[in-house]
Amino acid sequence: MVQLEEQEKRPKFFINDQLDILIEILKRLDGPSLGVAACVCRLWCTLIQNDDSLWEHLCFRHVSVPLPPSVRPVVVALGGYKRLYMGCVRPVLSRLADSERVRKRVWTRHEVELSLSLFCIDSYERLGGSGRLNGDASASSLMFLCKPVNV
């Protein structure tokens, strides 16, 4: 009985107070779930929008070989992991899964290289600075990934 009172007096565990645990949990979610989680409350939304390491995990979680440390500064410089995921990794994942009829769970370095190359081209096009490319033409190099697949 005494124990029960003590338990009731002990403060309940509130996840929003433990941000590092929250991040650890969010790291294990997949893309759509992360999107859903971002709608839960403002704190989670801010966290998910701003913490790039979550997206880094999401991008390269399935890579069989660990990536060299030089990848991160390059990705960050080109626009960050969130943009990499939204622009390249997610369409690549979904497109490859569709075409091979198998949920591709493991990525080799070829997929990584391909995604990074496409991401780089996209960033280059977003740079602008050339008068000839109009606003629509820049950053549309990845549009082919967004087009619906003719299944």
């Binding site: 060299p68 030089s70 990848v71 500064p73 390059v74 410089a77 080109l78 369409p91 690549v92 497109r95 490859l96 075409s99 091979e100 070829h110 997929e111 290289e113 391909l114 990074l116 190359s117 496409l118 780089c120 081209i121 960033s123 280059y124 740079l127 600075g129 050339s130 008068g131 000839r132 490319l133 629509d136 033409a137 549309s140 190099s141 549009m143 082919f144 990934l145 087009k147 619906p148 697949v149 003719n150």
Partner: protein
């Protein structure tokens, strides 16, 4: 489509044939109306002539996938179509609702007969077309020309005494008494053009009576018209080859009309080829003084809408990357910099390679700009920004020259301890237009002493000595190419700007291959085997492209919508990208053998 037939017969010139894409002709109502009225026309006719067996079997035997019970539906749809046409806002359509007459699509004789009657009544009487021995000057005013040779119908017992349309092989336009041989000839045509391949043709054209009418609106079976279209194109090219320009002129207008009855890739290809043939016939050779910013823009759209350029860049970059492994100073010479889209991926790959990035120097070669702006420097500046972001030491130099043969290797400033790569994507074939130019370029490359030379070229032989062979090759090649573009855009509801621009980009190539000659004809594509012979005899050794390039290329293609049609093939160390069974571009890599 109906309106277009009207226009061509009234105005006389094939205005749609010279337009780009003829987009105003497309529309959902066209095809639907065509199909339903086609089958309803059939249905009406067969009801009057009862034959053995049920009507369904008859319709099925003729290739129509419709049942007699559907006829009521079809008739209703026809009425709706006529209602829509009657209330349509566009000019020139509403009168079609009351003026339409449906013809049996297999009865070409009756259709052409009615057209000729109409033409004979028209005020413009180009009988001089038959009487004269040559074409009236290079530029015929549209009112003077007609799409079908105007023959005084009453005087002829047979419809075509003129040899113009008889020249079309397969008797597609000139029906004779033996319909079976006509169909068997059509069936034996072996090479399909594009996705509209030859379907099963109706066994025999029926000899029904067609009501006499001067209304020129006609419905044409689009599949049969596709066969006719190809035959007409070939006949026209043959006429040009034989310098029979009068015949060629007639045929090319016929092509324009037939092309408007097609849909999709077939129509676009036919339109571009007809346009190019017309230029050749009339001697209106397009000049090469094209604004390079416009052609860069088209190039950009082609890059975005199809995987060909991306494939070229990725495979070439992979070869360069492998050749540069372990080297700390690298220099790439790009024979056609354009927007520099190939290099961001290489810079990024160099940044991430084990051992860190090298010092990267890029020399971009480009044509002089008409407005004297420094386009090369702008591209170089963008690349420099990117390289700085990623952390790769980068240096850029632009080199302006009109032709690669003018390239002076001493200007390229080779530095000691630097590995050099030469990259040429769709640039070398232009050198074949002038004698001696290609040898000069290859010698220049040898003086530079590169570690690797990457060459990407179209996989087709458009440089044969005989015009007709070139034409045939080009027709097959560009049909496959347009098909693939169409396939990848299939998921979209309306043609995107990318697609239209890409087609224009290819259309200009078609124009050059067909209409130009001598130094102007720069699109002198040659097949991989020919390039291999040339490179080997110039003293280069082939470099195998490796499995990494193959895997990356395959994955890249899997990403494209409609990508099921694309194929990557490996051929003796070279990679080829093709559409279904037809390889379209080829990447190869070369090095100078190390002399002991």
């Amino acid at each position: 489509m109906k309106r277009n037939h009207e226009d061509t017969l009234r105005v006389g010139g094939v205005s749609s044939g010279y337009g780009v894409g003829g987009s105003r002709n497309s529309g959902g109502a066209d095809l639907k109306g065509e199909c339903s009225s086609m089958s309803s026309g059939k249905g009406k006719m067969w009801v009057e002539e009862p034959e053995a067996g049920g009507m369904d079997e008859l319709l099925g035997a003729l290739g129509y996938k419709v049942r007699s019970s559907d006829m009521a539906d079809v008739a209703q749809k026809l009425e709706q179509l006529e209602m829509v046409m009657g209330t349509a806002q566009e000019d020139g359509i509403s009168h079609l609702a009351c003026d339409t007459v449906h013809y049996d699509p297999t009865d070409l004789y009756g259709w052409v007969q009615s057209m000729l009657t109409e033409l004979n009544n028209s005020p413009n009487d180009p009988t001089e077309l038959l009487g004269s021995n040559q074409i009236d000057g290079p530029l015929l005013a549209p009112a003077e020309s007609s799409s079908i040779p105007n023959i005084d119908f009453e005087n002829q017992s047979q419809i075509f005494s003129d040899d113009d349309l008889r020249a079309i092989p397969g008797m597609v336009a000139c029906p004779q008494t033996d319909p079976d041989s006509e169909n068997s000839q059509k069936r034996l045509r072996s090479s399909p053009i594009g996705s509209d391949s030859i379907p099963a043709l109706p066994p025999s054209p029926s000899a029904s009576n067609v009501s006499e009418s001067t209304r020129p609106v006609v419905l044409v079976d689009s599949q049969e018209a596709g066969v006719r279209l190809v035959h007409t194109l070939m006949a026209c090219a043959e006429a040009v080859q034989q310098n029979n320009l009068k015949l060629a002129d007639t045929l090319v207008k016929h092509v324009g009309m037939l092309a408007s009855s097609q849909a999709g890739a077939m129509r676009k290809v036919a339109t571009y080829f007809a346009q190019a043939l017309a230029r050749r016939i009339y001697g209106i050779y397009p000049q090469e003084t094209l604004d390079s910013s416009f052609s860069d823009m088209l190039h950009m759209h082609f890059y975005e809408s199809s995987p060909y350029l991306k494939f070229a860049h990725f495979t070439a970059n992979q070869a360069i990357l492998e050749a540069f492994s372990g080297v700390n100073r690298v220099h790439v010479i790009d024979f056609g910099l354009k927007q520099g889209l190939q290099w961001p991926a290489l810079i990024q790959a160099l940044a991430l390679r084990p051992g860190g990035p090298p010092i990267f120097r890029l020399t971009g070669i480009g044509p002089p700009q008409p407005d004297n702006s420094d386009a090369l420097q702008q591209v170089g500046w963008k690349l420099a920004q990117l390289a700085e972001t990623i952390g790769v030491q980068f240096e850029f130099r632009g080199y302006v020259c009109t032709s690669l043969a003018d390239l002076d290797p001493t200007h390229l400033e080779t530095r000691p301890g630097e590995a050099v790569a030469v990259n040429s994507v769709f640039e070398l074939h232009r050198m074949l237009a002038r004698p001696g130019a290609i040898e000069k370029v290859l010698n220049t490359i040898k003086v530079i002493k590169p570690q690797i030379v990457t060459i990407v070229e179209q996989e087709a032989n458009h440089n044969g000595p005989v015009f007709l062979d070139r034409f045939t090759e080009a027709l097959h090649y560009y049909s496959s190419l347009f098909d693939s573009l169409e396939g990848s855009a299939a998921g979209l509801s309306s043609p995107s700007q990318d697609l239209i621009m890409s087609e224009l980009y290819l259309g200009r190539q078609i124009c050059n291959v067909v209409a130009c000659e001598e130094r102007d004809r720069v699109e002198r594509h040659e097949a991989l085997a020919q390039w291999k012979t040339r490179m080997c005899s110039a003293g280069f050794d082939p470099v195998h492209l490796g499995s990494n390039a193959f895997k990356q290329a395959s994955m890249l293609l899997a990403l494209f919508a409609g990508g099921d049609g694309y194929r990557v093939e490996e051929s003796n160390g070279c990679l080829m990208l093709g559409w279904h069974t037809r390889p379209l571009i080829a990447t190869s890599a070369w090095k100078i053998p190390a002399t002991e």
